[in-house]
Point group: C2
Chain length 446, copies 2
């Protein structure tokens, strides 16, 4: 198919790029050995990841694992792993989600140097990444040469529709998941043809035998560890988005699925008009972006969104949409259907015949918040009382500091935040994001 | 107890009233026989109801049943029953809920003449009222003389707190139910002492043996027909109100439970202030009271309230209280917490993998009501669409005529209705009712 050939021309690494990559890998391995020897360590550097499997796109991250003997103390693994990485690479960043490693440059190529334990069996894994070499080997052993470009096509398709990557920011498909899907279905075209008919709970396996029950929407049992679902990071939303994209692409293949057009931010005035025409109330909480790894930041942001949602629900405010946006500041956006409520609210008590009924009566009869009642409706006690917060902004201002937003977000909010409401949220620098929020189109529709 | 003696002085019929009643009963029976003979009928007039059981309050309804042989055709029973009644009484009204009868006056006393079948066993009942003579006999046979006044006390207590009568307007305790409670608990004081601890599902029986399972809050198995719950008309709200009243009376007996103070309507200005301070939106639907029996009217009004409640709920408007009031006009009152909503609403569709998903997409993509989307949230399709009704008034005006309100109410509404909103609902003639609605106190607290 022309489109897919055209895409491959853009994404398949060229011969001289690959030559350069191979050279860098050689050099990095040698340097690692050199540094390790100078530290008196016996380690083994190995290439893993997409470059090892020859499924990488252009400008890949080169993943080099440094295998330590299983007798190494965890503390030493971390210490020496970072030492080696910092000695070999330039412009290093220490990364540390579950596992510490060094991200940096060698020549002009991006390299990750990750310490791990050299184990015999993936089920004996001692650290979060010990399984990775087995994944790499499994793919190398089982993948046909012509499938490498099929993996590249799938990865680019997922990138294009915005759901490539298992990290917290994306909650999409990992590279390894892409490779397994190609192994299972043969090629990209066949994945599309099948995925368009996927239903919640699809199961894909590679080895016979039992595996535990998974609750996720897509279950791809890891051939290297049947206890693990390779697709566990995939959100239900992204699973559904993939199905829909496959249907659309199947019906009418288009280059834009792989390389979507840039989003042209709509003019400020149009955005304001759209907000006013919706008639809802938009509320934006803005604070400085805390300094932490993207994975931590985004999982805390999701937690924050949930906490604020629960708070609003508890106080009877109802929102119909929400999203967040990160640059130097974080913006948490909520679109309210019910933003303000009357002064008076109904509070339900126990049934009249419940042992707690008299406590309820005593509490509210004496309360300064009592408006009318106590009265009986059906079989239960009720009171009409004064509402604590007449609108969602009052509520959030009163309670935001008390919520569990995640450590870094809580810290940043404590330093200060501001709230914008309605059309005041529209600023030039957020125009692209607001364009997407207000139009709710898929990435390939722009 | 002094209060109860004081109450009895007011409610126990005096000797000369009773004498007069006995005289009227005699005369009515004779007249019935005379009219029946002139029609060539062989019937038997009998006294039933509270007067027969000597549990009546002053100015009672005298209930005379005219017993027809079971061979009588239903049509003839109704025809001749009404003929006899109309011939014997003055100022007659034909009443017809389940069963036709004549309500009118003899001398200055209120009399009901009701045709029924003379059956041997209440389980053979052929018309709705055939059981009544058996109820009367059961009480006469089992009631001790000193219990008659205890029944009177209970009836007056229930009248005072507003829940005496099994009719649709009240949904409270019938006279027969009062008599059975006295039989069961011995006297009024003991009823209060027990009822204050009642829980939902209390069962009271008088004969051994099985009875069917009842779902009501209070179950008093009819000793004359174990298939019937004598308390089936009692609403859960009134059951609970009775429990609470008994607790309050038990803790501190007061004359006001039997004879509550009149409700002093609050001044118009204060009512308006209270409405404004509540901050909710009050909406009143007003139309002419249809000509029909109270039982039919009130059961249709309850049906109307439910239908309007369901309508509002379906369209996302939320009310926290409702009531109705009847004089020459009917007023249906709703107190809204969410009275108006934004122009845009979210409409949820099927999961992306559901067979109907493509229909949903097709329908909404082409709809003129589409604001944004279709988009995916979690695993399902959503669209943002224009709301049909931006406030509850618009909704009710558009849909009231299409609702099942009950035949008479539908007819009256068709002739015309008006809607008042907010403080405009406050008029002098409804001030008493609004005073109760806004203060939500119990009848004995005024």
């Amino acid at each position: 198919m022309d489109i897919e050939r055209e895409v491959l021309l853009k994404i398949e690494p060229k011969e001289d790029e690959n030559k350069h990559i191979l050279k860098v890998i050689e050099n990095v391995k040698v340097e690692i050995q050199r540094v390790a020897e100078s530290l008196g360590l016996s380690v083994e550097p190995i290439l893993v990841g997409s470059v090892a499997k020859d499924t990488h796109l252009t400008d890949p991250d080169i993943d080099i694992f440094v295998m330590f003997p299983p007798t190494t103390k965890r503390q030493d693994l971390e210490l020496y792993g970072l030492k080696i990485g910092n000695a070999v690479l330039k412009k290093c960043e220490k990364k540390y989600a579950e596992h510490p490693y060094v991200y940096g440059y060698y020549d002009d190529l991006k390299v990750e140097i990750v310490p791990c334990y050299k184990i015999e069996d993936p089920l004996q894994k001692m650290s979060a990444v010990d399984r990775t070499p087995f994944h790499t080997n499994y793919i190398i052993k089982n993948q046909k040469p012509e499938q490498k470009n099929q993996v590249r096509l799938l990865k680019q398709f997922l990138k294009g529709i915005g759901i490539y990557g298992a990290e917290a920011e994306i909650e999409g498909f990992s590279g390894y998941l892409c490779e397994l899907l190609v192994l299972n279905y043969g090629d990209f075209k066949n994945i599309v043809a099948h995925a368009k008919d996927w239903k919640k709970g699809v199961v894909i396996t590679f080895v016979n035998g039992d595996f535990r029950e998974f609750n996720e929407t897509l279950i791809v049992v890891d051939p290297v560890d049947p206890e693990r679902n390779v697709a566990s990071a995939l959100s239900e939303e992204n699973f559904a988005t993939f199905i829909h994209a496959c249907r659309e692409y199947y019906a009418k293949p288009r280059f834009e699925f792989f390389f979507p057009n840039d989003i042209t931010p709509e003019p400020i005035k149009i955005l304001k008009n759209k907000i006013e025409r919706r008639g809802t109330t938009l509320l934006c909480i803005i604070f400085d972006t805390p300094q932490t790894l993207p994975d931590i930041l985004h999982s805390q942001l999701r937690k924050s969104m949930r906490a604020i949602a629960n708070l609003c629900e508890k106080y009877d405010f109802k929102f119909i949409g929400s999203d967040y946006f990160v640059n130097t500041e974080v913006m948490l956006l909520f679109e309210f259907e019910v933003y303000s409520l009357p002064q008076t609210k109904v509070h339900k008590g126990p049934p009249v015949w419940h042992p707690n009924a008299s406590d309820f009566l005593q509490k509210w009869t004496c309360s300064s918040k009592l408006v009318s009642g106590p009265y009986i409706k059906n079989g239960s006690w009720y009171v009409d009382i004064e509402r604590d917060f007449k609108n969602a902004r009052e509520l959030i201002e009163a309670k935001l500091g008390t919520l569990s937003l995640g450590r870094h977000i809580n810290g940043s909010v404590k330093k200060g935040y501001r709230i914008l409401k309605g059309i005041k949220i529209v600023e030039e620098r957020y125009a692209g994001w607001l364009t997407m929020f207000l139009n709710k189109k898929f990435r390939w529709e722009y």
